[in-house]
Every structure is written in C-alpha cells, then in structure tokens.
C-alpha cells in the first residue's frame, strides 16, 4: 500500500476505491460510537463529554481479555457492551441524573471531571504505552477484482451494522424502546402516563454506553489503544452526530461513514495529520447550512 502513495503523480483509481472502502468500514465503527452519543443526547439531553474516554475503557477491556484469555474481539463484543451498559446505567442513576435539570455548563464540568478520572485511572492501571491485539485474521484480506480490503475492517464494519440494527429494532419494536422514545418526545407527557423516567434515562445512558462499548471493542481491530485517545474520539463523535443529525439513528451511521471516508481520502491526498481538519470543516458547514444535520428533523 505504502508504495502506491505517489504524491503529485497520478494515483490509480483502484487505490482511491480501496481507501474509500476502508474508510466506509472504519466509518461504520465511528458511526456506532457516535450512535451512543446521539441516543444519550436525544433522550437524556445531556452531552456526554466523556464519550471517547468511555470508549477507551472498552478498548482496554478488549485488549486485556484478548491478550490474556486469547478471546477474539468479535466474541468479546457482547460481553464488553454489557459491562459498559452496567457502567452507564449506574453512572446515570447515581450521578448524572442529579444534573439533568441543571445548566449545560455544570453538566459539562461534571463529565469533564469524569473524563479526567477515567483517563488517569486507565493511565495508572495500563501505563502510557500503546497496546494492540493479535488476531488470526490480523493480516488477512479479501480480494474482489481490484478491490483489496482488510479482513479486520470488514468484520468490524459488519459487527457495527449488526449492533446498530439490533438497537434500531429495540427502539422501534419493543415496548421498552417505545417508552424511551416517549420520554424523548415529551418528558412531562411520559411522567403523566406513569413512565418511570429516571429508570428509562438510566437504561438509555446504559444503551448509549453499550454502543460505545461495542464500538471500542471493534476499534482495537483498527487502531492501538492508549489512555490518551479519549478527547479526540469525543470530538469525533460530536462531529459525526451533528453531521448526521442529533437524535437521528441512521444519521449517526451515515455521518460516521461520511467522516470515515473523508478522513481516509484526505489522508491519501494530503499529509495524514491534516485529515481531521476536513472532518471539522464538514462540521462547520453542516452547522451553518443544515444545523439539523443531514438526516435530522427540522428544528422547530
């Protein structure tokens, strides 16, 4: 791959295609992560500024379990999502619920404090070095014609779609999912008809955390885990969610794919360090010209 990166010369079209497909698959995992943020904000109306940090928890869980117990990250997906669900549930029940009606800047400070604690606990426990996982398919790839895709990316992208689809089905078809959507639509109305809003909020925060947990588990197939990853992935989640439309579930996935492809192609055309600039450029354009996001409902 590296030898194909000819700057100034003509890059063959199939290189673009390969990079774009890789970007789509990475973007699906980004999208699943952002989906968690979107679900939490859409219902609880709290912006989770510790989102990327929660993902690093999942990444380290995956690295440790994969390294010590030789379990495949794909098998770990559901257990780690369940652990993060419990974490999110307890967090919302015990702490964040106090802040639901408080002003935004105090919510922000609360979650920043949480983010600081998470990052540094991870730093104490695992040290500052980057950790990665070894899988049997780590160097494998699929080839379809001129298209060559890493097997790990294909599995990660597919798992992200399955997880997102399951969440989508939960919100759409189960009674509990409908109750949560009712809370999001009309808080007072939900109270009036006798819904236990506090519990539903905790469930929602748990589900959002489970998305991050699943995304983090898949993320170890794509990048190395370090305790310092948090802030940049929190920002990435914001960018994706706002691009796709805050509160729109397909929007989060679409935003993730869009940002994933943009980053991949920008990394090919320019220096890789410039790639996130394009993500922020997209964010600014979306905020100004389509503030409800690509798939979001028009704001009242």
């Amino acid at each position: 791959m590296a030898s194909l990166r000819v700057r100034g010369g003509s890059v063959p079209l199939d290189v673009y295609l390969n990079v774009a497909v890789g970007g789509v698959l990475t973007g699906l995992v980004y999208g699943l992560m952002a989906l968690g943020l979107s679900v939490i904000f859409g219902v609880v109306r709290v912006v989770n500024f510790a989102h990327g940090e929660m993902m690093t928890i999942a990444m380290f869980l995956a690295v440790v379990l994969c390294g010590d117990l030789h379990l495949d990250p794909l098998i770990l997906l559901v257990p780690i999502a369940a652990v993060l669900f419990a974490f999110g549930y307890v967090l919302q029940r015990g702490l964040i619920n106090l802040f639901v009606t408080r002003p935004e800047h105090t919510q922000f400070l609360l979650l920043v404090a949480l983010a600081i604690i998470i990052t540094n606990v991870l730093l104490i426990v695992f040290g500052p070095d980057a950790r990665s996982v070894q899988t049997s398919y780590g160097y494998a790839s699929f080839q379809i014609g001129a298209l060559i895709v890493d097997a790990a990316k294909v599995y990660a992208g597919a798992a992200a779609i399955v997880f997102a689809a399951a969440l989508f089905a939960f919100f759409r078809y189960t009674l509990l999912g409908k109750a949560i959507r009712a809370c999001a639509d009309n808080h007072t109305g939900a109270l009036v008809v006798g819904l236990d809003v506090k519990r539903l909020y905790a469930l929602t925060f748990g589900l959002g955390a489970a998305c991050v947990g699943a995304a983090g588990t898949m993320m170890v197939l794509l990048i190395d885990a370090t305790p310092m990853l948090g802030p940049s992935y929190t920002l990435l989640a914001f960018v994706i969610v706002i691009t796709g439309g805050l509160g729109s579930m397909p929007g989060a996935l679409l935003g993730g794919v869009l940002i994933g492809v943009t980053e991949a192609v920008a990394g090919l055309l320019f220096t890789p360090s410039l790639k996130s600039m394009f993500a922020f450029a997209i964010l600014v354009l979306v905020l100004l010209f389509r503030p409800q996001g690509l798939l979001g409902k028009r704001l009242a």
């Binding site: 935004e104 600081i116 410039l274 600014v284």
Partner: protein, 334 residues
C-alpha cells in the same frame, strides 16, 4: 469615572478588595520563587477565566474553544517579536484585532445562522481544533516544531520587551488581572452589561424588549476574545515557547473555564477564587504525592477529577456565591 467605578460596592467588599490587593502587592517579598510561580499561574487563570466569563457568565454564550484566542494572541505577538523584534506590547496592539476579528467571524456565523446552546459550544471547539491543525501544518510559524522565544540571562528586567525575572511577570499579570476585574465591574454596570444579562436570562424576552441581541452578543464575543488574547501573549512570553498542540488544544480551553465555573459563573470574584482553589488544589496534591513518596503518573489527576466532581455536585453555583453570603459582601461581588 473613579466614582462610577466604586458605585455599588459595599464597604465590606471594598475592604476585602483592598486587603486582597495589598496581599497580592506584598507577595513577592514574602513568598519563595516556587510559590511566586504558583501565584503567577493562579493570576493567569484568574485573568483568562475573567475574560471567558464576559462571554459565558455575562452574555450566556458557552464557548469551549477559547484556546483559539489564546493561541492567536500568543502567535501574533511571538511572531512579531522573533521575526521583526517588535516588543510584545506593540504585538498586543496587533494581537487584539486579530483575536477580535476571529471572534467576530465565529460569532457572526453562529449568531446569524442561529447556532445556539450545545451546538454553539461545539462550533467553538471545531474552530479551535481547526486552528490547531492549521498551525500544526503551517510552515511559516514553524508548524508542529513550535516557536521559541530567545532566553538569556537578564541583568535587569526589561518590562517593554517582557524579558526578566518572575517578579516582573508577577506584577504584569497582577496588573492585568486587576484591570480586567475593574473592566468587568464597569461593564456589569453599563448599558451593555445589563443587555448581556437580559440576553443570558432570556434571549427571546430581551429581543422582545427591543435589544438588538445579535449586536450585543457580537460585542460580548469580541470583547472576550480581545481580553483573552493578552493571556496568550503572556503565556508565550512567560513560557518562552508555543506549540500548536499545546496552545490550541481543547485542554487549554477547558482549564481556562474550570476556574470561573468552580468559583461561580457570572460573578466578579468567581474566576479569581476558582483559579486559587483549582491551582492550589493541584499544587497541594502534587506536593502531597511527593511527600508520601507516591510516584504514580495520573494519581494526582484522579484526585483532581474527584475534587471537581465533589465541588460540582455539592456547590452547583460555585464556591463564591455561598462564601459571599457568609462574608456579607452581597450576592457574588455585586
């Protein structure tokens, strides 16, 4: 003018201010070099927090990207100094319009296109990140290798070029903090200040009452950005280096705003008190760790985070409002 500055200050508050100012003025003769450096950092955060407070505490616009004004101020003054030998005070004359223009651009786009609340906060982060990556790849300002200011042993303090001993830097930032305190006191009692408070409390009602909310929000952003740019100039000349990764990073924006939130948002004493509490806490934790022989990277930060958590849970309005009631100096410096 002087009379107007002291209008509405209760005798108790005046005494408190006088004692505080006297203590600050005398500090360099009493404390050692280490504590003096801590005091400089406290005053720097008090200053920057006060600057941010103009936008959030007064006008209610939550900016999480103030690092951009800090970085622009620092870079403009440092470039003028290293490339053309222009003194920082003249550099400040260039830095202020640059920061104000940047604030105006962000403000114009946000307010014209109706970007509010959380969306506005994230837009400000986006601009700061944009600047960080841009400067990181901009060869003229040395990109990610950073800018360094010449460091020499100075026989005497050169106040004009901001080269000298910690004591000089201390008095510079003390004067700046006192000035911005007076400015905020004055602003809060001005027509603009009342309009800002009206916008903060209820923007729709403010507009209905005939306030041109767009104009006054723009003024808030531009004043806040201008005031913040000096913090950047000070940062550059005090630390003698500038890296885009550091000066534009989101953690710079966050550390500026922790002080006012912990101290009490929208109050005059809040940012100062918050800076004291937070920097004091961080330094105390670090000393305690050293004293107990704990060498665990991150442990200090975990405690710091826990303390933030406790304060924000226990005192949602910050430390100053309840303290002010206790001291009998009115509601948060008013």
């Amino acid at each position: 003018m002087i009379a107007r500055l002291f209008a509405g200050v209760s005798p108790r508050a005046a005494i408190l201010l006088a004692v505080l100012l006297a203590a600050f003025l005398a500090a360099p003769w009493i404390v050692n070099d280490y504590l003096l450096t801590v005091l400089i950092i406290i005053l720097y955060f008090a200053y920057a927090g006060q600057a941010w407070n103009i936008m959030m505490g007064f006008a209610g616009q939550l900016s999480l990207g103030h690092a951009i004004y800090l970085g622009l101020g620092g870079y403009v003054a440092a470039m003028l100094f290293t490339q053309f030998g222009i003194a920082p005070w003249l550099g400040l004359v260039a830095a202020i319009p640059v920061a104000a223009a940047c604030g105006a651009i962000i403000g114009f786009l946000a307010f014209r296109f109706g970007v509010t609340g959380v969306y506005f906060a994230i837009l400000t982060i986006a601009f700061a990140e944009f600047a960080r990556i841009g400067f990181d790849n901009w060869g003229y300002v040395n990109a990610s290798s950073g800018l360094f200011l010449p460091v020499k042993q100075y026989v005497h303090n050169d106040l004009w070029r901001l080269r000298g001993s910690p004591a000089m830097f201390y008095y510079v930032i003390l004067a700046a903090t006192a000035l911005v305190f007076a400015l905020c006191h004055f602003l809060l009692r001005s027509r603009v200040g009342y309009f800002w408070l009206a916008i903060r409390e209820d923007e729709l009602a403010a507009r209905a009452a005939g306030i041109n909310t767009f104009r006054y929000k723009m003024i808030a952003v531009m004043v806040s950005a201008s005031v913040t740019s000096f913090a950047g100039v000070f940062y550059a000349f005090f630390y003698n280096n500038l890296f885009p990764e550091q000066v534009f990073s989101i953690s710079r924006s966050i550390e500026i705003i922790l002080g006012p939130i912990i101290g009490g948002i929208g109050t005059l004493f809040g940012p100062i008190l918050g800076a004291f509490v937070l920097t004091g806490l961080a330094e105390a934790l670090r000393s305690a760790m050293t004293a107990f022989g704990v060498d665990l990277p991150g442990a200090t930060q975990v405690f710091y985070g826990l303390c933030l958590l406790v304060v924000i849970v226990a005192l949602p309005d910050g430390v100053w409002p309840p303290l002010a009631r206790r001291l009998g100096v009115g509601k948060g410096g008013k």
